[in-house]
């Protein structure tokens, strides 16, 4: 308990003094995971909508695999991306290993299945309600997908936030492809891992507290936007 209160005091101190080191790693965490979410969503939402509306043999198998990949271990994703991006690997010429770009790529891969699988379910459920109307209007599948993606934006935003939460909380992938380089690829989670391994548990806990508060704040902001939007637009 003593450790906890020491950590909370430490956390408060870091935040209030706007500690430069903290700002750097927190900022990088947000940039890496935020960008990963944008990229993953841009791909996963249309994919999920397509899968919800498409009918082809083996579709159920694809859904099962996609759902299963929501549980992809981050460290495994990190390892796979590392092998891809290593100079000895096929994409080595890109030279992005041990840079934030590699971290973004790894996290985007990690969270794509989460956003896609949830989007698929949301759109498929909506389809039950909308499909007769769309059929009556002779909408093409692509027009239906677009209309549903926008109409279900509030539910889909929850899927996106789920992806963001997963990204900003993981350490396995960014540790391997980023290398936890001081000042370059050190993010909140890898910093916490480092401080733990150095035995500085109060600092590790303090960073953890800051991270949790940060994520809650972002979720609160997203929820507020949603509530205001629903109020204005139904």
């Amino acid at each position: 308990m003593n450790e906890l209160s020491e950590s909370l005091a430490l956390a408060l101190g870091l935040v209030v003094s706007a500690d430069a080191g903290l700002r750097a790693i927190a900022g990088l965490s947000l940039r890496v995971s935020g960008t990963a979410v944008l990229i993953a969503s841009a791909l996963a939402l249309p994919f999920g909508a397509w899968l919800a509306l498409a009918r082809f043999p083996g579709r159920q198998g694809v859904i099962v695999v996609l759902n299963g990949m929501m549980g992809l271990p981050p460290v495994v994703v990190g390892l796979l991306i590392y092998l891809l991006l290593s100079r000895a690997g096929p994409l080595g010429a890109l030279g992005i290993l041990f840079t934030p770009a590699a971290m973004i790529a790894a996290q985007a891969v990690l969270i794509f299945p989460i956003i896609a699988a949830l989007a698929r379910q949301v759109i498929e459920d909506a389809w039950a309600e909308y499909h007769e109307e769309f059929l009556s209007l002779n909408a093409t599948r692509w027009q239906c997908a677009q209309a549903l993606l926008w109409d279900m934006r509030f539910s889909l935003s929850t899927a996106v936030m789920a992806g963001f939460g997963r990204a900003i909380a993981e350490v396995g992938a960014v540790m391997i492809v980023g290398g936890n380089i001081d000042g370059v690829t050190r993010v909140m989670t890898t910093a916490i891992a480092l401080e733990t391994s150095k035995g500085d548990l109060p600092l590790a806990l303090a960073l953890g507290a800051v991270l949790i508060v940060l994520v809650i704040a972002i979720n609160a902001a997203a929820q507020t936007v949603k509530i205001l939007a629903v109020k204005r637009h139904g």
Binding site: T35, R87, W150, I181, D182, H233
Partner: protein, 279 residues
């Protein structure tokens, strides 16, 4: 169009992406990647000496801290420009295989054995590492090993061998392999009341000693040599040969060696520079 503005949303997303990465700024930085060990990173040595190097040359040194085994693997694949580790045997093999060139001994510190204050193997104060290990095995006292192919771990295993003991016979009983770095292994040893084999640098900067204290030190055998070398440009033509060489040269130069000697934790010097020109 649509009330919330799909167009506005897209614009926002693009703006966010643009802010997220000032890619241009990145590309212009001079930098090298140094694959090193957790003992040098965790001790804080690099935080101390790298800014001096950067101020002098403008080169940003990006240290990827992994165990020695992983660091050499990273360099072997061409993902690093310089290697800075502490396993002489593995380093020489690395050069022999043609992956590294111009290996230089750069600094040393020593290994120690830490253990619980209760000292079940009765070795506290000893200057004999081999004898102490024999006593630990005989008394089956809990021992936390890194088990991760690091330089420290390699040294530990060599001492067991010299003591004619196969610690695997105690596996699962008193010999516990954590498969992790020095810090986590010390955390585990502290929590379990176990002995552990560590380098002094990490130990001095370790902030969670709990009931652990140094029990064995000062044996000449416990000498821990660090070596630095350039990754072989012949094997990996893309690597930053000149910049990497500047680092290797500097860290073995008078200025670099002085910077290493300068680094202290709690008033104690952690690493001792010992570069000597060949011949």
């Amino acid at each position: 169009m649509v009330t919330i503005g799909r167009g506005q949303f897209a614009a926002l997303a693009l703006a966010a992406l643009a802010v997220a990465f000032p890619v241009a700024a990145f590309a212009q930085e001079k930098f090298i990647v140094v694959a090193s060990t957790t003992s040098t990173e965790d001790s804080g040595l690099f935080r101390h000496i790298l800014p001096i190097f950067k101020a002098k040359t403008g080169i940003d040194v990006r240290v990827v801290a992994q165990g020695t085994g992983q660091a050499l693997a990273t360099a072997r694949k061409g993902d690093a420009d310089v290697v800075f580790v502490h396993d002489r045997v593995a380093e020489l093999k690395f050069v022999e295989e043609g992956f590294g060139v111009d290996r230089r001994e750069v600094m040393y510190n020593d290994f120690i054995i830490v253990g619980p204050k209760t000292d079940p193997a009765k070795i506290a104060g000893s200057k004999d590492v081999i004898g102490s290990l024999k006593k630990i095995a005989a008394s089956q006292s809990p021992f936390a090993s890194r088990g991760d192919k690091s330089g420290t771990n390699a040294a530990e295993l060599r001492y067991w061998k010299q003591a004619d003991i196969d610690p695997q016979t105690g596996k699962g009983a008193w010999y516990r392999e954590t498969g992790s770095g020095m810090g986590p292994t010390l955390n585990t040893a502290s929590a379990m009341g176990a002995y552990a084999f560590a380098d002094r640098g990490t130990w001095l900067s370790f902030k969670n000693p709990g009931e652990l204290a140094i029990v064995v030190e000062g044996d000449n055998k416990l000498f821990n040599q660090y070596g630095v070398m350039l990754v072989n440009p012949a094997k990996h033509p893309h690597m930053k040969k000149e910049l990497g060489m500047q680092f290797v040269d500097w860290v073995t130069s008078q200025e670099g060696q002085a910077a290493i000697a300068d680094y202290k934790v709690g008033g104690q010097q952690l690493f001792f520079p010992n570069y000597r020109k060949a011949g």
